[in-house]
């Protein structure tokens, strides 16, 4: 108890806690349809794009979130189109895009500021990343993601389960897929500065995978993924405070532990 009190005496930890818990929840909810639709790699690609965008914003002195959110949303839209088209193999296209974005980010920073701690924190995350104005924006956007996900839950389920049936019976499949990718883009940008570009996609993938081991009902999978994600984030934050380890990596290890437990439980 005293540990928690001393932790939350630091305003930056409170900020990290609020934003991190919300973003983990969003990422986990979106992760269930993304993993089931075999779109896990899109989250990974987007995190690299958002690294590139943040690096450019930093070099040019733009407000990081305001600059990178539109860019990443745009890339999400294109990545989805690429994944749709039969002509380009989707995994190759995503790999090319994420490597290019990463390269642009690295070149821009080395030409301007050089590899500073800021860049390092974009790669691997930092608990200090959130300023007060960032928190307000992040909380608003994360709340919007949650509301939209809940409002369109049934549609997202149908489109995830069976696109051709949904399309044939008149559900606007394209709209919901675009919605899914835009919400993912938002979540990735909001989460990556704390978790790091290299690690943010684990927030999307791990909770969904773990929940799927244990539950058979789609709704239970979604709820369990959300709960697991928030719990793992909180645990990760506490451990990172105790051991002075980077928060992103610590959260990922907590997610891994949860996955192993779920896999063991699900095997029975």
């Amino acid at each position: 108890m005293s540990l928690l009190l001393s932790m939350f005496a630091y305003p930056f930890i409170v900020r990290a806690f609020v934003v991190g818990a919300l973003v983990s929840l969003c990422a986990a909810l979106l992760g269930v349809p993304l993993v089931l639709k075999r779109y896990s790699m899109i989250g990974d690609g987007l995190s690299h794009v958002s690294f590139g965008a943040l690096a450019v914003a930093l070099a040019c002195g733009f407000a990081p979130l305001w600059f990178s959110i539109p860019i990443v949303m745009l890339s999400a839209f294109f990545l989805l189109r690429i994944a749709e088209s039969a002509r380009v193999s989707a995994d190759a296209a995503i790999a090319v895009l994420s490597a290019s974005a990463l390269a642009i980010g690295v070149i821009v920073t080395s030409l301007t500021t050089g590899m500073t701690t800021d860049v390092d924190s974009y790669m691997f995350g930092s608990i200090l990343a959130m300023s007060r104005s960032d928190v307000a924006l992040s909380v608003t956007l994360a709340a919007a993601v949650l509301v939209l996900f809940v409002a369109f839950y049934h549609q997202l389920f149908a489109v995830t389960f069976d696109e051709s049936f949904s399309r044939a019976t008149g559900v606007k499949v394209g709209t919901y897929k675009t919605l899914l990718s835009l919400l993912t883009a938002l979540t990735v940008v909001l989460g990556m500065r704390m978790m790091g570009a290299m690690l943010i996609s684990s927030l999307v993938i791990f909770p969904a995978l773990s929940a799927m081991r244990v539950f058979k009902r789609f709704r239970s999978v979604v709820l369990c993924a959300g709960a697991l994600a928030v719990a793992c984030f909180c645990l990760g934050l506490v451990f990172s405070y105790l051991l002075s380890t980077p928060v992103g990596a610590t959260v990922v290890l907590c997610d891994l532990a949860a996955f192993l437990v779920c896999a063991a439980v699900g095997r029975k």
Partner: protein
């Protein structure tokens, strides 16, 4: 048929199909009405899946007009081929069946009590009520097809379009599925259009055959089809173990 002029559910008017201005099939004209049971036959690459996409309104035909009255009225049920991702999907039978109502759900949060009881009724009709809380991925292929059929019934009461419904089913499960379709056709007055490779069952179950082949097509009753050239050829090819004549 008792009505003098049964309702038109789906019709092709001088439709040409193909890829990028290379027509596979031209001047296709046929009408599916209430009470019809149509089997669509044809060799691989003859344009069956292109035709299906046009009938569902997913791709426009090269020319001509597809009249999709049943779909416009929200009365089209569809049984697609299963994707590999689906076979491993964590969802209960009930969740899958209920999603059939989505086309008429509008902007509401939950399914209504009426929809829930209708879903239970459809599951009962197809004999999967006791599987209600089972996980979709744990069912056999035949059971999965029944679940998807129940979902299609939630979406529509007039026309059912099926894409290779017995692919991947063992013979007993296939016969079971045909029996279910016969029941839906006779007792529930559902018109059926089924794309299939299974010529023997198609000739036995369907009333009308649409055969599409290289540049020509046939639409008529099973008896007419067996007298027609394409039917004879197809039948002979089948007897010779699939060798082309």
């Amino acid at each position: 048929m008792d009505a003098a002029e049964p309702k038109i559910l789906l019709a092709c008017h001088d439709v040409s199909l193909g890829y990028e201005h290379k027509p596979l099939l031209e001047h296709l004209d046929f009408t599916v009405r209430t009470g019809d049971y149509v089997a669509v036959l044809g060799e691989n690459g003859s344009g069956k899946s292109t035709l299906l996409k046009s009938l569902l309104g997913l791709t426009p035909p090269l020319s001509g007009y597809v009249e999709r009255s049943a779909q416009k009225a929200g009365q089209l049920g569809y049984l697609p081929q299963q994707t590999p991702a689906q076979r491993d999907f964590p969802a209960t039978v009930e969740e899958v069946v209920l999603s059939g109502f989505l086309n008429r759900k509008g902007f509401r949060f939950a399914y209504s009590g009426k929809e829930r009881s209708a879903a239970l009724m459809h599951m009962g009709k197809l004999g999967i009520l006791e599987l209600k809380d089972k996980c979709y991925r744990e069912l056999s292929g035949g059971q999965q097809q029944r679940v998807l059929l129940a979902r299609a019934l939630c979406a529509a009461h007039e026309l059912l379009i099926l894409d290779e419904p017995v692919t991947g089913l063992d013979p007993a499960a296939s016969q079971d599925l045909y029996k279910t379709l016969r029941y839906l056709h006779n007792k529930e007055n559902l018109a059926i259009l089924m794309v299939t490779h299974d010529v023997e069952s198609a000739l036995r179950e369907a009333k009308t055959i649409l055969h599409i082949g290289q540049k020509r097509w046939f639409y008529g009753t099973v008896e007419e089809y067996l007298r027609d050239e394409s039917g004879k050829r197809f039948d002979a090819a089948r007897r010779n173990g699939g060798a082309r004549s």
